[in-house]
């Protein structure tokens, strides 16, 4: 008994030892817990995230691009994208078949993708709402949706070359979209899709996306629309290969319109050939020909080497420079300096250039900004080709003086002309007025470079001489109704790289000018590539200048400075922007009544005449031959796409279609009178 009681002590000792042992074990576990849960927490957290959730990058909402009147030119709209989690799909065969049918995909390739042992594959990105609804209705397991954003250009081709386009990942690839990509592009957003160990998704979170900045362009959509229409019409009429037109505000350097033909629809840029997408106005070089004579004249005037009424010896229309003969288009003998410009005499101009000398001519070429990028906010602008003076041949000073042996961009030429219109101050042409954040604060405002390159007196003298070109010279077809205008024609033979000679059949016909002369509000440059059979700038480009300058001046509400006594049929269209119906204001300038152009409506009885009769009524009321063809927009509702397309083609309306099915909405409304060529937007459902 005693022994047994004593034995308790032995047992208790052992119990104490055992307790100690187990406590040490417990402390080890505790230590490991601290290590794993506290010290290594971040590492395991990351490890857990890697296996528990999947990140899908979703493109951000790009900022909107507006024209100067805040009309939307490019904006991002929500577009559903469809992805699959292949392990969740029950019947891959059926899923692939159904999806391929609805989304118009290749069923074999789709089945292959859906069979991959992956947790995420795109089925199709940025589908239409109708497609998404149809896919949802299938109720397939393992097929999921995320909302992405898609770039939309609501006006189709309008200002395509300026805007450029953005690709599937909402990254700007061309034009302003590319140049301002950093500002426009918002932050990429991430959708977290939580998944279990078997790869099935059960939850998702999407962080709200930050939007990119908005852009306010200098473009005026109304002017742009008319410029594009006139240019397209001109290219068609003159059977030119391509054409460029630029409208600048000479005082601010703002580009009001910039158009190229051929053009493309940025909504479907991938389908357009490079030929159509290239922004020729800034990328292509051409020899400006006679338009470039303004540089020679500016140099001579500024240097005090020439008075406008001074007589220049024109040598009967030919001059020999270092063995090369340069001719005029017809023989001239003695012309005043003014007449040299008006008649575009090469010989007279070369005589003046010889006074100026190679050195000073080179200086002025540089001052006018040739051979150097203007710095307009577009990618891929060409520098131009201006050979340094040490590489000039003895004939160069003459050739360059008349716009040969030199490569310029249309924009450089337009900016040079603008400097003369702006009393000798060269202003950097630009497209972006302001970058604005979503809350409306202006992040960046345009600060164009300005340089005085001529004295105001020389600039004004030259402007007056250029007015003579339009009044009496080669540019008479550029005369405007109601406005004075100045400008210079150019007809340049193209250098044929194959024959290494100037071609006799390939010309660039151009006209650059401004109006009104006393207080220029617009500078317009028109250049047509390879027009035929007429090919001179005066015949081909000057009339286009006239049409463009007139609509631009009207759009800007510039009061006329000429009382030609010629009644003017004026039309004012409000560019049809999103949500508002297109409106047509129609009126006639009343003869000699007032300084300002006044619009008065037709008598009510005549307003509802059918299109052609109405145009005739307006024409007769205004006693003018120039009636713009008007058409009445038909009622498209309930018709199919094909029928609507055919009707539009027949009556000359451009059409932008959205959706599919039957027409449910249209803009402008049925019955509205519009100018032929106006764009109709019809929504189908």
């Amino acid at each position: 008994m005693i022994k047994r009681e004593l034995y308790k002590k032995t047992i208790r000792r052992r119990l104490a030892q055992l307790t100690g042992l187990l406590s040490v074990w417990g402390l080890l576990v505790g230590g490991r817990l601290l290590h794993v849960q506290v010290a290594q927490h971040e590492q395991w957290r990351a490890q857990a995230d890697r296996q528990q959730r999947r990140m899908i990058r979703v493109t951000a909402v790009r900022g909107t691009i507006y024209d100067r009147a805040e009309r939307e030119l490019a904006k991002s709209v929500e577009a559903p994208s469809i992805f699959a989690v292949p392990v969740e799909i029950e019947d891959v065969e059926r899923a692939a078949r159904e999806l391929a049918r609805i989304l118009r995909l290749d069923p074999v390739a789709l089945r292959e993708r859906l069979s991959e042992r992956r947790e995420f594959v795109w089925v199709k990105r940025k589908v239409t709402p109708e497609e998404a609804t149809a896919v949802k209705a299938l109720g397939l397991t393992g097929i999921h949706f995320v909302t992405e954003n898609k770039r939309a250009y609501p006006n189709g081709e309008l200002a395509a070359h300026v805007l450029g386009y953005a690709g599937i990942d909402e990254v700007g690839l061309e034009g302003i979209e590319f140049a301002y990509d950093r500002e426009i592009r918002g932050e990429e957003s991430t959708v977290f899709v939580y998944r279990d160990a078997r790869g099935r998704t059960y939850e998702r979170t999407q962080r709200p996306v930050a939007r990119g900045h908005d852009l306010l362009l200098t473009l005026d959509a109304t002017i742009q629309f008319h410029v594009e229409r006139e240019l397209r019409e001109a290219v068609r009429r003159t059977r030119a290969h391509s054409g460029v037109a630029i409208v600048l505000d000479p005082k601010t350097g703002e580009i009001l319109a910039l158009a190229n033909v051929p053009t493309f629809d940025p909504n479907a840029f991938a389908k357009a050939p490079e030929e159509a997408r290239r922004n020729r106005a800034i990328r292509d070089l051409y020899e400006p020909g006679s338009v470039f004579k303004i540089v020679t004249f500016a140099a001579a005037l500024e240097e005090g080497l020439l008075r406008p009424n001074e007589v220049i010896e024109c040598l009967g229309g030919r001059i020999v420079l270092a063995g090369h003969t340069i001719r005029d288009h017809r023989p001239f003998f003695r012309l005043t300096a003014r007449e040299v410009l008006e008649q575009s005499s090469n010989v007279g101009t070369i005589q003046i250039a010889l006074r100026v000398g190679a050195e000073r001519l080179a200086q002025y070429i540089e001052r006018f900004g040739f051979g150097r990028r203007t710095g307009v906010e577009l990618p891929g602008e060409a520098r131009g080709i201006v050979r340094p003076m040490r590489r000039w041949t003895p004939v160069s000073v003459g050739a360059i003086a008349i716009g040969q042996e030199i490569g310029v961009t249309a924009l450089q030429m337009a900016a040079a002309m603008a400097a003369i219109a702006n009393e000798g101050v060269w202003v950097q042409p630009h497209l972006v007025r302001a970058v604005r954040s979503r809350d409306g604060t202006v992040v960046k405002r345009a600060q164009p470079e300005r340089r005085r390159i001529l004295s105001p007196a020389s600039a004004r003298a030259l402007a007056q001489m250029l007015e003579g070109v339009v009044e009496r010279g080669t540019g008479q077809l550029a005369q405007l109704s109601g406005y004075s205008a100045a400008g210079k024609t150019g007809t340049a033979q193209q250098f044929d790289p194959r024959t290494r000679r100037y071609s006799r059949t390939r010309y660039v016909a151009s006209f650059a000018g401004f109006a009104p002369v006393a207080d220029p509000r617009v500078v317009v440059l028109v250049a047509l590539d390879r027009p035929r059979p007429k090919y001179t700038g005066g015949e081909v480009a000057a009339p286009v200048f006239k049409r463009i300058a007139e609509v631009a001046l009207h759009a800007l509400n510039v009061p006329p400075d000429r009382q030609e006594g010629r009644p003017l049929l004026a039309m004012r269209t409000n560019f049809a922007s999103e949500g508002t119906e297109g409106e047509i204001g129609l009126g006639i300038a009343e003869e000699g009544k007032d300084e300002a152009l006044r619009f008065s409506s037709l008598p009510p009885a005549q307003r509802d005449l059918p299109g052609r009769d109405l145009a005739r009524a307006v024409a007769s009321a205004g006693r003018t031959k120039e009636a713009l063809p008007l058409v009445r927009v038909p009622d498209f509702r309930g018709q199919g796409i094909r029928a609507v397309t055919e009707q539009c083609a027949r009556i000359g309306l451009r059409l932008i279609v959205s959706g599919s099915g039957r027409a449910v909405r249209q803009e402008p409304a049925a019955g509205t009178l519009v100018v032929r060529g106006t764009t109709c937007r019809v929504q189908f459902q």
């Binding site: 008994m1 022994k3 047994r4 004593l6 034995y7 308790k8 032995t10 047992i11 208790r12 052992r14 119990l15 055992l18 307790t19 187990l22 406590s23 074990w25 417990g26 080890l28 576990v29 505790g30 490991r32 817990l33 601290l34 794993v36 849960q37 506290v38 290594q40 927490h41 590492q43 395991w44 957290r45 490890q47 857990a48 296996q51 528990q52 939580y194 279990d196 160990a197 078997r198 059960y202």
Partner: protein
């Protein structure tokens, strides 16, 4: 045969109530402890069981919904088992622990256990192992009972050999090793190496407590190690688990998967956890989040706060349990009590050690918390026995 054992009781009253043990209620309890035995252990056990129910639910809801169509499948069963376990514990508290010392009771317990262990081979296999006997919607794991039976047998047998017989190989070591060996072999055939190992460990611990000569235990070790080595190396997945223990990243999607997932659960939980029911690892990353990896699951959802509290709770359990064994009125009580405490604490530590990567992966439930009826009922019964020992502590010792 049934020789009276003169010093096995501390009070006459207790001796009168041998094998009946229902008399306490009539007695005026001198203090609270008389009824619940230990004022800390009793609420602690209940608190852990309640935590278990809650965590089993959060761990198993998704699993249950997928497997059985209702998220409450495991919750409901665990709650029923817990109620049953509580009742069993309350009964065990009232049964004088000397009841288990009676040779006939010991024999009955051993024979019953061995029969049940044999019977599992006639019930259908679950996951390739015969561990359960199904009875309607409920299933029972006889190996859990086997451990209790072994503790009772060892406590009774070793107590009888005190003091002189302990050192005699044929009287002490041999019979104990044979009984334990029989159970271990049967359990190995289920197969359930983890449980077999823990039974072996019970034997070693009890030998250690009563001071069986070290050389005898060496014999046991020398005999067992080659068998263990053979068992591990000849069953592919066991060997892989051992390899994975040393380098889980060797095969993170295969053999190392469970170890890594457990660490991810604990580690991502961090200090305060991802929140109750917010855990992601239970979505089929953690294998058996409601049983074998419930500690990792607690670590994920409740963080270090949760795991720390659980570790602390078992620490307190060890302290109070050992205190009861220390103050037990007789050596049988000391052996029985300490056997129970050490078994439960070791099992808990093994479970946690697997979770934190100290041990290779083996399926050990966390006592009182993990899902599993048999484990819960037996553990609560054992705690009931422990509390009965506490009730009988000699007042001069307390």
């Amino acid at each position: 045969m049934l020789r009276a054992q003169p010093y096995r009781r501390t009070s006459r009253r207790a001796s009168r109530e041998l094998a009946i043990g229902w008399g306490e209620a009539e007695r005026a309890p001198s203090r609270e402890m008389v009824r619940i035995g230990d004022k800390v252990l009793f609420p602690l056990a209940i608190a852990l069981a309640l935590l278990g129910i809650v965590m089993v639910y959060s761990a198993s809801a998704v699993l249950a919904a997928e497997r059985y169509g209702t998220q409450y499948h495991f919750l409901a069963r665990q709650a029923i088992w817990a109620t049953l376990a509580l009742a069993v514990m309350l009964v065990a508290m009232r049964v004088d622990y000397h009841f288990y010392q009676h040779p006939r009771i010991v024999a009955l317990l051993l024979v019953g256990t061995l029969l049940l262990l044999g019977a599992v081979f006639f019930s259908p296999a679950v996951n390739g192992a015969h561990r359960w006997i199904r009875w309607g919607a409920l299933s029972f794991q006889p190996s859990e009972l086997a451990r209790f039976a072994l503790i009772v047998f060892l406590a009774a047998h070793l107590d009888r050999r005190i003091p002189a017989g302990i050192k005699r190989f044929e009287l002490t070591f041999l019979p104990c090793a044979l009984v334990a060996g029989a159970m271990v072999v049967l359990i190995l055939f289920e197969p359930d190496l983890g449980m077999a190992l823990s039974l072996g460990l019970v034997l070693l611990v009890m030998f250690f407590i009563v001071g069986v000569p070290f050389r005898h235990q060496v014999v046991l070790g020398v005999g067992a190690l080659p068998v263990l080595a053979w068992l591990i190396t000849h069953v592919n997945w066991r060997w892989e688990r051992i390899l994975a223990y040393f380098d889980p990243w060797q095969d993170p999607r295969g053999s190392g998967f469970q170890a890594i997932q457990s660490l991810i659960a604990l580690g991502s939980g961090g200090g305060t956890g991802v929140g109750f029911a917010q855990g992601k690892q239970k979505l089929f990353f953690l294998p058996e989040p409601h049983t074998d990896f419930i500690f990792a699951h607690i670590g994920e959802e409740l963080g270090l706060v949760g795991t720390g509290l659980v570790v602390l709770a078992f620490g307190i359990f060890l302290w109070r349990g050992m205190r009861i064994a220390w103050h037990a009125p007789d050596t049988f009580g000391m052996l029985l009590g300490s056997g129970i405490v050490v078994t439960i604490v070791m099992q808990a530590l093994s479970h946690m050690s697997v979770a934190v990567g100290l041990f290779p992966v083996k399926g050990t439930p966390l006592p009182l918390i993990s899902y599993g009826g048999s484990s819960l009922v037996i553990t609560m019964a054992e705690i009931g026995v422990l509390l009965n020992i506490a009730q009988q502590a000699r007042s001069d010792d307390v």
